[in-house]
């Protein structure tokens, strides 16, 4: 039994940390203020090989394990959550469905640019009236004359409106009780990318609503088997949950790192605030949560990399996501408190951390959904 990542993972972690601290941290406050995703950084992340980690070499990837991706997301997330989610969504939601279900032609067409960070792909699942209840999807796709015609709307779609977005994988109703996934290339007539959302956090991350108004794509743009859409996105979300969990671990670790430093530097009544039990013990609790969250996350990643049953991975992913994201939200609350008045100021990263945290308990399955998944995993007939 071992509780260590491999030496390769640790070497890679160091590089991603250097990159995050060197290329992201100095500019992140400004990007956040401007609500701007810096595409040159996306490209640099491509050069680092981050988008292609889990992609086979034939499509330009590194054929690495899922754990490596979690390491990268954690380290980016430690510095900035928006950049972390940009990677997570680009791989987990953008690349992964095409890689898993795509034909050779689809893979060859889209993957090489996605792997290098020259393009981003998005996954259009959530709808204005179908979030956790994704089965209630209303977007329709009808097949006629060798073309799919899509009508409907999607909500909160990450990476869907950047200048380099190349394709959006859309779930749509293709029959009475049938959901399928269809590839809609960016700039297809009838695809309307709504203006970016005004969000509480994740300001750097690109998020749009989409609408489809007689949007036509070739029949060959069907991804995988017709009618398998529901099954496909459930599998996609299981992987995504582990990755979101890694993002949350990064945030909690980031909170611990900056608050520990601040607690040593900031003096009140002639002593560093870290000498006060109120501060020190709060940070001890954060340290415990970080450790527990990290273990749950990497255990789930390890189960996936070891090819364990999907039921086992699903349960571990839900447990990790639930615990890590709630721990991260709690950690931002502590960090902001440790920083006192400064914690409320955008001048310090903890204010951004605080704003960015909440969505972790919502995206890729809310905490409530995770509890439902876990309860079902326990064999409870929860509805």
């Amino acid at each position: 039994m071992t509780f260590e990542l491999s030496a390769d993972h640790e070497t890679f972690r160091k590089v991603v940390r250097e990159f995050a601290e060197g290329e992201i941290a100095p500019h992140v406050a400004q990007w956040d203020r401007e609500h701007r995703l810096p595409l040159d950084v996306v490209r640099a992340m491509g050069d680092l090989g981050l988008f292609g980690l889990v992609v086979p070499e034939e499509y330009g990837g590194a054929d690495a394990d899922f754990t490596s991706l979690c390491v990268a997301i954690e380290e980016l997330g430690r510095v900035d959550q928006s950049i972390g989610i940009t990677l997570e969504a680009a791989v987990g939601l953008g690349i992964n469905p095409i890689l898993t279900y795509g034909t050779d032609e689809q893979k060859t067409r889209f993957l090489p640019d996605l792997v290098t960070g020259r393009a981003l792909a998005a996954f259009g699942l959530t709808e204005p009236e179908a979030g956790s209840d994704a089965g209630a999807t209303k977007t329709r796709a009808t097949l006629a004359g060798g073309e799919w015609t899509l009508n409907g709307a999607k909500a909160f779609i990450t990476n869907s409106g950047t200048e380099i977005t190349s394709v959006i994988t859309v779930t749509a109703r293709t029959g009475e009780k049938e959901i399928s996934t269809i590839l809609v290339p960016a700039a297809t007539p009838g695809l309307v990318v709504e203006p970016a959302y005004e969000k509480l956090g994740w300001h750097i991350s690109d998020t749009h609503g989409l609408s489809f108004d007689d949007c036509r794509v070739p029949e060959a743009n069907l991804l995988g088997v017709r009618g398998n859409g529901f099954k496909q996105f459930l599998a996609v979300l299981d992987d995504g949950r582990i990755a979101i969990s890694a993002l949350a671990v990064g945030l909690a670790q980031g909170c611990l790192d900056v608050s520990r430093k601040y607690a040593l530097e900031r003096h009140t009544f002639g002593a560093p605030i870290g000498s006060r039990q109120a501060v020190a013990f709060s940070l001890s609790d954060v340290a415990v949560a970080v450790e527990a969250a990290r273990l749950l996350t990497y255990k789930a990643a390890w189960l996936k990399d070891s090819g364990r049953s999907s039921a086992e991975v699903k349960q571990a992913a839900a447990i990790a996501k639930l615990y890590s994201t709630e721990a991260a939200v709690a950690a931002t609350r502590v960090a902001t408190q440790v920083f006192g008045g400064n914690g409320f100021m955008e001048e310090f990263p903890v204010a951004r951390f605080y704003r960015d945290a909440k969505v972790l308990e919502i995206g890729e399955g809310t905490s409530e959904v995770q509890r439902m998944v876990i309860a079902r995993g326990l064999g409870l007939p929860v509805t």
Partner: protein, 259 residues
Amino acid sequence: MNIVVLVKQVPDTEAQRQLNPDDNTVDRAAVDPVINYIDEFAIEEGLLLKEAHGGEVTILTVGPERATESIRKALSMGADKAIHVTDEALHGSDAIQTAKVIAKALGTIEWDVAVAGSEATDSRSAILPALLAEALGVAQLTQARKVTVDGSTVTIERVTDTGYESVQGSTPAVISVVEKINDPRYPSFKGIMAAKSKPVTTLALSDLGIDAGEAGLANAWTQVVSFENAPPRAAGQTVKDEGNGGGQIADYLASKKLI
């Protein structure tokens, strides 16, 4: 073109560095080792030269066994192979002795340019590239902020206090580069994996025909006689603006020869 990049492993610049009180040498165990910061620019310049002119980039490091970590990092950035000179007898060697060791190590391979960082963040003597060029009797092109190679002619922009000088020499040449000459790349994931199987030749002093009596602290040409920790930072000087604040600041800067 065969490019050699000289890489030194130093104690982490951002940590509290110290000397061993026993022999006044750098305490390497106390602080995590890293690649000398400026050497990362030398590695990048080597890689850029290779991309422009072809050939191979060889990393050359003199240092303890643990320096392999820095060598692997340089290889993961894209260098092709490495030579690691390591020997217990090297402990405490000064710049002059190290330059001689590097000169001998360069004698074991074919090379056209040897690129170094302009100084190391631990000793900061900034003299090794010059010593090396002297020891080898080759062109010495130091403090470069730009390097151009045309056939066997190397031209650099040498940074001076007031601007730069254009300096030219022919290969083989020793070049030292200043930071900001380029933007060092980060190792990619594939680079890290590939580095594991790149060849690293380990050489001892005996392999280079150097007598242990020429190396090490006891035989060094320079000696650290004593040292003390830097004094704690003194309180700053407050300039009170009574209508003449600008003039006072200008006087202060002038007294430091900054303006």
